[in-house]
């Protein structure tokens, strides 16, 4: 792990914003114990304002969320980035806050790259298509390195990513998140509270086992007053490449994303069929959208990209039209 400001966090740190800050047993001997115990850390985090300034040149910020793992958050984040960046006038950036399981570098074809430091902060790594990416994977010395960190340390790194990365003038910053509703998500939303997140895209697969977790994520968005742009149903149907018949591999036993959207008053942005070529493109770091442009999955992705862009760009001009 590259040396950074978060390496000195003691094992078992209760978190600087908690009531236990500075008072718990792991705080003994921590250089920050006195300032934590004094309660001055309880106030608004000065980083929130710093982040707002840092992200001044970023027009739209989109979060990609799902309560469930492995539903295709990173794949969707990548397709969103590729899709928006296909318009050459648009600059797109991706921030991978899945600290324990960063997959964006591989999907964007940037495996094994390293981050560079410049006078204006950390420089993101740029893909062939000009997409800027920042990920923990760039800070690891080997691909097998595990980031065995507890919450407070993960939060410290996310703060650094948001505050210290020099994104430059950027149209879209897409944030890829880990599964769940915990440290990474809370920190990101809180740290971006002044910089404002435009909305979240929630990703699911059709089966109830995924939907039940995704409903929790929607509850999370509502609790934190984060606008939900809409829901994407991934892995909807599978079309056999040989006989062209459709199969439902993850059967929508409870009505799939469509019913959930209806029940919860959300927009369904699209359904993406299972296509083995998507997995292959992700593994090899190639853009699926240009690789197999005429496939049904591509058509679905393109429509989703358009709807996300419309949500962000129209909202600014005529806020009333979004009711």
């Amino acid at each position: 792990m590259a040396e950074s400001g978060v390496t000195g966090v003691p094992e078992g740190c209760p978190g600087i914003c908690t009531e236990q800050a500075g008072k718990a047993s792991p705080c003994q001997g921590c250089p920050n114990q006195a300032s934590c115990a004094s309660g001055q850390t309880q106030g608004p985090d000065p980083a929130v304002e710093q982040i707002k300034e840092r992200l001044d040149g970023v027009r739209y910020k989109v979060l990609v969320l799902s309560g469930k793992g492995g539903v295709g958050k990173s794949t969707l984040t990548a397709q969103l980035a590729f899709g928006i960046a296909s318009d050459e006038s648009k600059q797109v950036a991706v921030l991978d806050i899945d600290i324990c399981g960063p997959s964006m570098p591989r999907i964007l074809g940037l495996d094994g790259e390293q981050v560079h430091q410049s006078g204006s902060g950390w420089s993101p790594v740029y893909s062939e298509d000009g997409i800027a990416l920042m990920s923990t994977a760039f800070l690891l010395s080997s691909a097998a390195d595990a980031v065995i960190w507890r919450g407070p340390k993960k939060n410290g790194l996310i703060k650094q990513f948001l505050r210290d990365v020099d994104w430059g003038e950027t149209d879209y910053l897409n944030v890829d998140t880990p599964p769940g509703t915990s440290d990474e998500h809370l920190s990101t939303v809180q740290l971006l509270s002044a910089a404002k997140i435009d909305g979240a895209v929630v990703v699911t697969t059709p089966q109830e086992a995924a939907l039940q977790d995704v409903r929790k994520e929607v509850d999370f968005c509502r609790k934190l007053k984060l606008p939900v742009i809409g829901v994407v149903e991934n892995m909807s149907v599978f079309v056999c490449p040989k006989c062209k018949n459709e199969s439902q591999i993850f059967p929508p036993t409870s009505g799939g994303a469509e019913k959930m959207c209806h029940d919860m008053g959300l927009d369904l942005l699209g359904k993406v069929p299972l296509d083995p070529r998507i997995a292959r493109c992700c593994d090899e770091g190639r853009p699926f959208l240009t690789e197999v442009p005429d496939s049904p999955a591509c058509t679905a992705y393109r429509a989703i990209v358009q709807r996300v862009q419309r949500f962000c760009e129209v909202k600014l001009e005529e806020p009333k039209a979004m009711d």
Binding site: P14, T18, Q20, G67, K68, G69, V71, S74, C100, G101, S103, R106, A143, A144, D145, A146, I148, R150, G151, P152, P178, P179, G180, T181, S182, D183, H185, L186, T205, Q207, E208, A209, A210, Q212, D213, R215, K216, E217, D219, F220, K223, L224, F238, C240, P241, K242, C243, N245, S247, Q248, I249, F250, P251, T253, L274, P276, A279, R280, C282, D283
Partner: protein, 278 residues
């Protein structure tokens, strides 16, 4: 039934083996594999407990058909929910503690750590042959809490689940590093969602690539326990309230997992014998 021993000793003495189901990656089938293995162990005549350590996305209750049940409080702590065939499986999950099933648990690490430790120390698991612990993706708070809560149980080993894709294998490689750093024995790797046989023409398509789990096992010198095919019928049974009376109709995924359960049982038995004699 209550032992007078410390809580610490309860789990150490009364649970013979602990099996952690791990994967760096989400959605690879940890919970499905955990649920299926629990049922296979039961059918092999073992006393089985299943702890769902995924606090933000608990899926085990749905898969065991114990959705919507509540935990009872006994004199010495929480009583696990009884589920599965003739209520023989002891189950604990955060889902049993929520008043509304769609409520999000928006908790930071320390709170999650506390609840997991409570699950291990305050739940009256009783005498068990095997306690399976289903974990969330990653290598963070929950995982460390489970290992700390078990306090060096003599027979505590891990099963790694992956899908064949390189993206998933990459995360599992990190999980393996976690096991090595924490000194957790790895029993083997299961490659889940490996190939889909079209029900119309019997053509097998590798939707999530192929071979990733096996090559990782070879590269890291770990036992490869086998492939489990993508099987919509298993997804279907795991999604609905299960009827355990007609468990005889086994699909290819269930058969593969049952075979893996037999191998795991043998391994754990040997480890338990070694632990007893030493």
């Amino acid at each position: 039934m209550a032992s007078n021993d410390d809580d610490d000793d309860g789990l150490q003495k009364r649970v013979r083996c602990v099996l952690l189901v791990l994967s760096g990656k989400g959605g690879v089938g940890k919970s499905s594999v955990s649920a299926q293995l629990a049922l296979s162990f039961l059918s092999l005549g073992k006393k089985v407990g299943l702890l769902d350590a995924d606090l933000c996305g608990p899926s085990v209750p749905l898969m065991i058909g114990a959705h919507g049940k509540n935990v009872q409080r006994g004199p010495n702590g929480w009583l696990p929910v009884r589920a599965g065939p003739s209520s023989s499986l002891s189950l604990m999950s955060v889902a049993f503690l929520l008043s509304n099933k769609d409520d999000a648990i928006v908790w930071r690490g320390p709170k999650k750590t506390a609840l997991i430790k409570q699950f291990l120390s305050d739940v009256q698991w009783g005498d068990l042959d095997i306690l399976i612990v289903d974990t969330p993706p990653g290598t963070s708070d929950e995982h460390l809490a489970v290992l700390e809560g078990l306090r060096g149980h003599p027979v505590c080993s891990a099963l790694l689940v992956t899908t064949p894709q390189a993206v998933s294998v990459g995360d599992v490689r990190r999980e393996l590093t976690f096991c090595r750093k924490t000194g957790t024995k790895v029993l083997g790797i299961v490659e889940n969602m490996s190939g889909f046989v079209c029900p119309h023409c019997a053509e097998c398509t590798n939707i999530f690539s192929q071979g990733g789990g096996e090559s990782l096992a070879k590269e890291c010198d770990i036992r490869f326990l086998g492939r489990v095919p993508l099987d919509p019928s298993l997804a279907l049974t795991l999604d609905k309230d299960r009827d355990f009376s007609c468990a005889a109709t086994e699909g290819p995924a269930e058969a593969a997992l049952h075979h893996i359960a037999e191998i795991l049982l043998q391994e754990m038995n040997e480890d338990a014998k070694v632990a007893q004699t030493s």
